[in-house]
Amino acid sequence: MLSRLKRDLTMAEAARTPGGARVDLLLIAEMVAPGARVLDVGCGDGELLRLLGENRGVDGRGIELSREGVNECVAKGLAVIQGDADTDLADYPNDAFDYVILSQTLQATRRPRVVLEHMLRIGRHAVVSFPNFGHWKIRLQVALGGHMPLTDNLPYAWWETPNIHFCSIKDFRQLCIAAGAHMEKAVALNAWGSPLRFNAPWWFWNLFGEQAVFLLSRRG
């Protein structure tokens, strides 16, 4: 299910550079220090891991729920295992990685707070990207349309969506505080995948950002 969403996002025509890489993945890649040890949770077809390996010289590992995704990754030479973010992060020792990445997967986990806490335990940094449920189009659909929102990035009817824990940018900041995460950096992307003005206020991001990427670290 997670991978299905990820694949849909990968397929989305928008938000690609001339080179073909997704803008949100490039943004994440830029947040990762060169040569770091990285775990990509819900790595899909491995596009981010490939990007990190080729552009940043990263020693990357992945976890992916879907068998097809895993097999595709391993066939590409990536170190990926089949596993579930909700259950398998507990098996990793503390401080095993410099960065743990959760890209477009948070909203599909059963216990987002536990997942985030594990990420901050396993890695010194966590990078989380997610679709912003506070975006004006979604607000409009709920407030005026009176139905669960459907967008290009979130195309599922409510009865078949893998996404069970939606949040807005504002909500995610609350989770960070609850989980004891220090927000080092945050970027919101508009509908075309371009970053919004970095000095815009949070309410502006929450209204106009379709996606958000947060770089977090353990507090203290």
Binding site: R67, V80, I81, G83, D91, P93
Partner: protein, 397 residues
């Protein structure tokens, strides 16, 4: 060779055990004994092996293939005994995932087997007769130790990769634990860090079938004449079922009749599946030694990697630099995916670089030997990635 006066097919097997056809032999004298887990030294002894491809100047492209219970060194070329293709020709060879144009492939016959490496069918130099049950009980670790001695002999310090399925996979896991510095990449396929109670139980049934055959003669059939063909065939028939799956058997045979259109109210092979199993049993007897079957199944039963590391598999791989690619098959009920997942958890806990893929197939445990395109793609991709990290020149695409 000592005069034995046994049936011609038996002396032929003894000959294969001492002087294997179409194989290289490494001989280790009394000065270089194989130190066995049983607490005794095996000396002198020999290892029969095959190689394919060319060792590069830097000696960095060697791949060791570990064979399964009834396998042998003839991995990628015709088997001189059965006249059949090598047992893993779909995986190993020119242009195959384990590409002999790129890698120097070594496949030794394991210690305790009957295709030229010293085992119970070999001649005991002290008596001039086949070892039989005088042969010491061997373990997976003994097999690996012997293979390490072979590599020393060949002047290969470190392997680019070790690969194998089933009992071969156990050897791979043991290699990475015993000699982490000598293994750059490890491919344990359809295996486990320990043999389960169910698997030990199946092996015990097989051994009892062999030993219940009066022709077994307390293991002395090679010297006294005769052969426990029926017992060994039954053992093989039982084991063969465990290598398949309910779905595969149904797909292949269903309830189809063998050369008849109704039941005969007898104990003939009415059903195709019966005829198939009987055939599997009888052809196996022609190529395998019954005592070897006892020894090798025992070695698998004794395998419990954690036991050597305070009961924790993760300790075996602490700080390992080896890259692992663990592979399992959905319908394998002999070494189910949960076994492979346990390996992966242990490796992750040790911080090892591990990939894990489960392949969907209804072919059961035997799938690792069969035509599984996804398996080939994964092995090729994994080795390509590891080859890049090892600095090997890229292969053909």
């Amino acid at each position: 060779m000592a005069e034995t006066g046994t049936a011609p097919e038996i002396s032929a097997r003894s000959r294969e055990a001492d002087a294997p056809r179409d194989s290289l032999i490494a001989r280790f004298g009394a000065d270089r004994p194989l130190k066995l887990d049983a607490g005794v030294d095996l000396a002198p002894f020999q290892i029969a092996y095959k190689t394919y491809g060319t060792l590069n100047a830097a000696r960095t492209n060697a791949v060791l293939i570990c064979h399964a219970l009834t396998g042998d060194q003839h991995v990628a070329s015709e088997n001189p005994v059965t006249r059949k293709p090598g047992w893993w020709e779909t995986m190993v060879g020119s242009g195959r995932p384990i590409d002999t144009e790129r890698y120097f492939v070594i496949c030794p016959n394991v210690v305790g087997a009957c295709m030229g490496t010293t085992g119970p069918a070999s001649t005991n130099p002290q008596t001039g007769k086949p070892w039989g049950l005088e042969f010491p009980v061997i373990t997976i670790r003994d097999m690996v130790r012997a293979q390490a001695m072979l590599l020393d002999e060949l002047g290969i310090d470190s392997l680019f990769a070790v690969a194998g399925g089933s009992m071969g996979g156990m050897q791979v896991l043991q290699w990475a634990a015993s000699f982490p510095k000598r293994v750059f990449a490890a491919l344990p396929i359809a295996c486990s860090t320990r043999h389960s109670a169910q698997n030990i139980a199946f092996h015990e049934v097989g051994r009892q079938a062999v030993m219940a055959d009066p022709e077994w003669r307390q293991g002395r059939y090679l010297t006294e004449g005769g052969t426990p063909a029926r017992g060994l065939a039954v053992a093989r028939m039982g084991a063969h079922i465990t290598y398949l799956s309910d779905a595969a058997l149904h797909r292949k045979f269903g309830r189809k009749f063998q050369d008849r259109d109704k039941v005969t109210f007898s104990f003939d092979a009415d059903f195709e599946v019966e005829s198939y199993l009987r055939h599997q049993g009888s052809t196996f007897v022609d190529r395998f030694d019954a005592n070897c079957y006892l020894y090798l199944t025992r070695a698998m039963d004794y395998f419990d990697l954690a036991a050597d590391y305070d009961g924790v598999v993760a300790n075996a791989y602490k700080g390992a630099d080896t890259r692992f690619c663990v592979i399992s098959f959905t319908s394998d009920w002999l070494f189910p995916t949960s076994d492979s997942r346990a390996i992966v958890h242990a490796l992750n806990a040790g911080g090892a670089r591990v990939s894990f893929a489960e392949i969907v197939t209804d072919k059961g445990h035997d799938a690792f030997l069969l035509d599984e395109p996804e398996l080939f793609a994964i092995v090729r991709g994994f080795l390509d990635g590891a080859g890049k990290a090892r600095g090997l020149p890229p292969g053909r695409t």
